[in-house]
Symmetry: C2
Subunit: 218 residues, 2 copies
């Protein structure tokens, strides 16, 4: 008798990757530049998004936002204030966004009217890195309050990142954080990564992140 | 023909719970009080442990520490300075400790010589809450830099916690954080939880945490 082998994890990832590819194609077709915003809980992902969305709006560039959270509407309420379309996805316990969840989000955005999509992932420095969602750019938000050695403690997340936003630099005088030590640790994990020190609170250097996005718009 | 049903997740949890119960029995037999220290990346779990381990030592109470990290030896090196037995567990990618990993840690500690075991979980506010490891007390470390609404955004973690250490209160003048708002959110998730505001950096109120542990030693 034939033995059927069920390889759960590989199959799960393969199916996810397939849908991620569909997301990528939909976004490409509409000439939308897409970013997956990741980071630990409270690293400041939403604060950075608030400032970035407002800055893009000032430049006449329209965007949409997909907010991923286990529970609650906090982040989407914060972003909707800026008059951009926001879709809240509640994972109901899951520690990351999967491509299928993001697909549902994309299908609910006015794709012909926007140039940029931000997808804020669940606050978690581990699991979101394992699941492709079909974006152009992976962004990790690192808070200086987390310490300098996080890239080597959470290597997968940093190894898949295109941009690292070193956030909360407004707290630099209150926190022991040496950005050179941080970048040296990051260098052990991935070279050629764009690092922008920012403050989501004061807005410092958010323009550099906006400029990066503008240059990459399709 | 009989159809065999494989319920992967339930079986995984059942096996884990079984081993967690074994851990609990081993620790109980040796009259060791055990704590699972959880929290997001950089919430300050290790800093609190440094001060707590030193404080217990001053009171003549010996302890052991199991450090869980995806990669690296940073935390165990920091703790070993205090002259206590430390076991580093590297999960090699996994986002949480499982009971089997903790069992290996326990088996390598001098159980007849210690009264308290701290198990520092992987920095993650989601997944560690899903896996029992067989301890007496679940502790969540929340940093005030993470914001006030985290209990409702990460409800499972807070719902299983016995103690919440609100850390980094030394930064209170630099960060907008209202502990009453935090406790109100926490109250939505779980009532009757012990909350101790602390600073792992300055050591403020760590004595209250130590006193709590001393009262619970078997």
């Amino acid at each position: 008798m034939e033995i059927k082998r069920i390889v759960v994890k590989e199959n799960l990832f393969a199916k996810n990757d397939e849908i991620a590819e569909e997301n990528r194609n939909i976004l490409k077709k509409h000439k939308i530049f897409s970013l997956n915003i990741m980071g630990g809980p409270g690293a400041g992902k939403t604060s950075i998004l608030e400032k970035t969305v407002a800055g893009l709006k000032n430049r006449g560039i329209s965007c949409g936002v997909i907010e991923g959270d286990i529970a609650g509407m906090f982040d989407s309420e914060r972003i909707s204030v800026f008059g951009v379309p926001v879709i809240q996805i509640n994972t109901g316990g899951a520690c990351h966004l999967e491509a299928m969840m993001v697909k549902k989000g994309i299908e609910n955005l006015p794709l012909d009217e926007i140039k940029v999509v931000f997808i804020e992932n669940v606050g978690n420095l581990v699991c979101p890195a394992e699941f492709k969602i079909g974006v152009d750019c992976n962004v990790t938000v690192a808070s200086i309050t987390e310490g300098e050695e996080k890239p080597v403690k959470y290597p997968l997340m940093y190894s898949i990142s295109d941009v690292v936003l070193v956030n909360k630099i407004d707290l630099i005088s209150a926190v022991e954080f040496d950005i050179n030590r941080f970048t040296a640790f990051l260098d052990e994990i991935k070279k050629d990564i764009k690092i922008i020190p920012v403050s989501g609170k004061t807005g410092k250097n958010i323009d550099d992140f906006i400029q990066y996005i503008v240059e990459r718009i399709l």
